[in-house]
Amino acid sequence: MTTPANDILVRARGLTFKRGNRYIFNNIDLDIQRGKITAIMGPSGTGKTTLLRLIGKQLKPHGGSIEIDGQALAKLSTRELYALRKRMGMLFQNGALLTDLNVYENVAFPLREHTRLPESIIRHLVLMKLQAVGLRGARDLSPSELSGGMARRVALARALVLDPMMMMYDEPFTGQDPISLGVLVRLIRSMNDALSLTSIIVSHDIQETSSIADYIYILSDGCVVGQGTPEQLKQTDSAWVKQFLNAESDGPVPFHFAAPDYRADLLGG
């Protein structure tokens, strides 16, 4: 890529991460451009969630480096890390709402923790974000009374309430009906442009993702197997990318978790 350095918000170089002896990432390079929506795609279990956790420094890489906004993650003190995290929003795969607080208090939580705003302003901000995800009427429900898709939308409102510079969405589209899906896609796009956010979307949803992503990385087996704008990827001649984008079951992308030979395994029991 030929983008000037300061256009890159997240820069991973030689990133290596292992679980046991298995490489989840083996020496990969990755750039997330500022102000753009970058999608991370790949088969289930390739480490997309892990990548987001590495970017949030909830996990530490075994090799390589990650820089966010020019700051090397490995060198940050706890205080600096927390300051950085205040500027990052993350939508967890299952929402991860705080179960002892209701919807309203969940969204208000970051405000109450990090600001000294008067109650009237907090109320204003919370209702605005809940309105954006269509759940203003659900403010008094507790998380156990929400469906999975609703919980994820509340979590989205919560992640946005501090107006971060960067948003990470882990599977924002799963569990949404066609209408809320459309709203979500437009919401993510319009917020990204209006607030000049930088967004990272992890998703399996090829259609929706290619419709809003500016740049796509396809991961598999610890490596980046394809990258480019959605158009570039459609015209690629890489067998990996073709198989993934067209959802074919035969091809180089493994559906199976690493395992010994099937026949030998069956006979060996």
Partner: protein, 261 residues
């Protein structure tokens, strides 16, 4: 065979030591989170409520019955020596020095400790703790420290209530039922029980148990394997370990406090 045995002994020993290390690091992090509670005192209040106030029923009922049983058993023995006026002393000293703090700690481990472990374990399993970290909120400050301090405050209060209601239970049986003179029951107690030696030491015990039980409970929750099975095991471990720790520490404290050697 022998090698296997040795290996598993070695592994278990290592596991135990590394768990001990983690538990102490955990305590350090928790204590570091305590100063921030001056701003979040409301969290502590709500923990004292859910750990303390909600444990009141079991503490009151148990305390009452233990006091009544003490009165009954003491009467059966002392009546042979015509010493039933000493019953007030027997009941109150047993409760204040031993049974109050120890039984309260055991009940507290079962009622509040298990709940603490399960709650924190589930927060971990459902990624609530991770989510807090990503929102730049330190879970040690927001979740662990308030529960730890809440337990420390609740436990001695509960032990005090246990002993008090136990002495009343003793009164019910000894004075009302067995017709021992009420003046003897109370005045002997007043003459014998020392503020610092008996009540004070009992409260020190209760405070120590409070630290140990709450520490074990929050640590087991935080350290659990984040699955339903992991949480359920951690809950069991909390009750077992906290009870054993209470009884072991009680022996040591009793030896230090009440032996005249």
């Amino acid at each position: 065979m022998i090698l296997d045995g040795l290996q598993s002994v070695g592994r278990t020993t290592l596991d135990v030591f590394s768990k001990f290390g983690r538990a102490h690091l955990f305590l350090l992090h928790t204590l570091a989170g305590v100063p921030s509670l001056f701003v979040r005192w409301r969290l502590v209040v709500s923990e004292v409520y859910s750990l303390g106030v909600l444990s009141l029923t079991i503490i009151l009922v148990s305390g009452l019955f233990v006091g009544m049983v003490l009165g009954l058993q003491g009467y059966n023995t002392l009546v042979n020596f015509n010493a039933t006026e000493m019953l007030g002393v027997v009941v109150s000293l047993s409760l204040l020095r031993e049974l109050g703090p120890v039984l309260t700690a055991l009940l507290f481990a079962g009622r509040a400790g298990s709940a603490l472990t399960a709650e924190i374990g589930l927060m971990k399993a459902t990624e609530q703790l991770s989510a807090m970290e990503m929102m730049a909120v330190n879970p040690y400050k927001r979740v662990i420290a308030p529960r730890f301090i809440g337990g420390l405050i609740a436990m001695p209060l509960l032990a005090g209530i246990f002993s008090a209601i136990g002495i009343l239970g003793g009164h019910l049986v000894v004075v009302e039922l067995l017709q021992v003179d009420a003046g003897a029951y109370w005045s002997q107690m007043q003459d014998t029980v020392e503020l610092f030696d008996d009540i004070g030491n009992g409260m020190i015990k209760a405070a120590v148990f409070g630290v140990v039980v709450t520490w074990i409970a929050v640590f087991e929750g935080y350290d659990c394997i984040p699955t339903s099975e992991g949480v359920s095991r951690a809950t069991t471990r909390t009750v077992v370990n906290a009870s054993l720790a209470t009884l072991g520490i009680d022996f040591i404290l009793t030896a230090l406090m009440f032996s005249d050697v």
